[in-house]
């Protein structure tokens, strides 16, 4: 019994901790149709909670997020498109509110930098591989270029 009690307490604590997010979460909101419900669910996962910043509106327990969810629900019920709802929030909070920023002039570097880095990496990798291949083939000229300080390296 004395061994079981702490275990039981631990289990309870764990259960409480695991359940905590759901306790805060958001009373389940029911949209009139499954299609609207699906759009609502998708939208609240795509917007950032501006107060906690690293959570979506769907996961955030703060009351500002609740206000924003209510705004989304009202707009959906009023017949607004997803695009209109996105536009509404971006106009007021900026692109920061979107978890996936759009490809516009201001965010181009964000999307293009990985491609540029990948290109640089590929080119340098090819360059190195070709040089090594040349060295292995026993091309003396390349070997000198490769190591100007120490001179030609001995093979094997």
């Amino acid at each position: 019994m004395s061994r079981r009690a702490p275990l039981g307490a631990l289990t309870l604590t764990l259960v409480a901790l695991l359940a905590a997010p759901f306790a805060h979460a958001i009373a389940p909101t029911r949209m009139p149709t499954p299609a609207l419900e699906a759009r609502y669910e998708r939208l609240i996962h795509n917007f950032r909670c501006m107060q906690c910043q690293d959570e979506s509106l769907a996961n955030s327990p703060v009351s500002l997020a609740a206000d924003m969810r209510r705004q989304i629900r009202q707009m959906l019920l009023a017949g607004d498109t997803d695009q209109q709802i996105r536009h509404f929030f971006v106009a007021r909070y900026g692109y920061f509110i979107l978890f996936k920023p759009p490809f516009v002039l201001k965010t181009a570097w964000l999307w293009l930098t990985p491609l540029v880095l990948l290109a640089i990496g590929t080119v340098s990798a090819l360059w190195v591989i070709r040089r090594r291949a040349a060295v292995v083939a026993g091309d003396d000229e390349d070997e000198f270029l490769d190591d100007g300080l120490t001179g030609p390296r001995k093979h094997t």
């Binding site: 107060q51 909070y93 100007g148």
Partner: protein, 180 residues
């Protein structure tokens, strides 16, 4: 030579990029507002002091004003309260309050205790108007010009330093422009 120098050079470039990132990165809690330079959202809300009256910013057209978003639950707003009173005393610009997600009785008690810097207070218990202004915390303060354009947004409690550094120059420039 190049063989030894290249990694060092690459390292130096990375250090520069990281140093730039660390120092130039905008503070994450200060999200710039896309509403700067745009018309202020117009609102007509119940007055905090008198539920039968409304407060509308359309009536403020032609005047400079500050819109200060606050609530009695907001600790930083309490820090800001003395400075707001001082600003109200200077008479440079009227301060309009937006009492955000608050209870009327708590707000009235708060103002009775600490003094009321606001010329008018709009009451937004549901927080819907605040979304139109892109509010994501309190206090936040907007400067609106006579054309009804938001010229500046200050996030966090206004300090005496912020008042002289960020607010006064903008308001003074305005006064000389409108005076000439």
């Amino acid at each position: 030579m190049m063989r030894y120098f290249a990694p060092l050079a690459i390292f130096a470039v990375i250090v520069v990029i990281f140093a730039f990132g660390l120092h130039q990165a905008p503070r994450k809690d200060l999200v710039p507002s896309p509403l700067i330079g745009k018309p202020a959202p117009s609102f007509t809300l119940p007055s905090l002091a008198d539920p039968t009256q409304t407060v509308s910013n359309a009536a403020l057209h032609g005047h400079w004003y500050l819109l200060n978003v606050w609530g009695t639950w907001c600790i930083s707003c309490r820090l800001e309260a003395p400075e707001l009173l001082a600003i109200a005393h200077t008479g440079v610009v009227p301060v309009i309050g937006l009492d955000w997600k608050d209870s009327r009785s708590a707000a009235m008690r708060y103002l009775a205790q600490r003094g009321n810097p606001y010329q008018q207070i709009a009451f937004d218990p549901g927080g819907l108007e605040a979304i139109h202004w892109g509010v994501y915390g309190a206090p936040e303060t907007f400067i609106v010009n006579p054309q009804g354009i938001i010229v500046y947004k200050y996030i966090g409690p206004i300090t005496p330093g912020a008042w002289t550094r960020d607010f006064l120059p903008r308001l003074r420039a305005a006064q000389t422009v409108s005076g000439s």
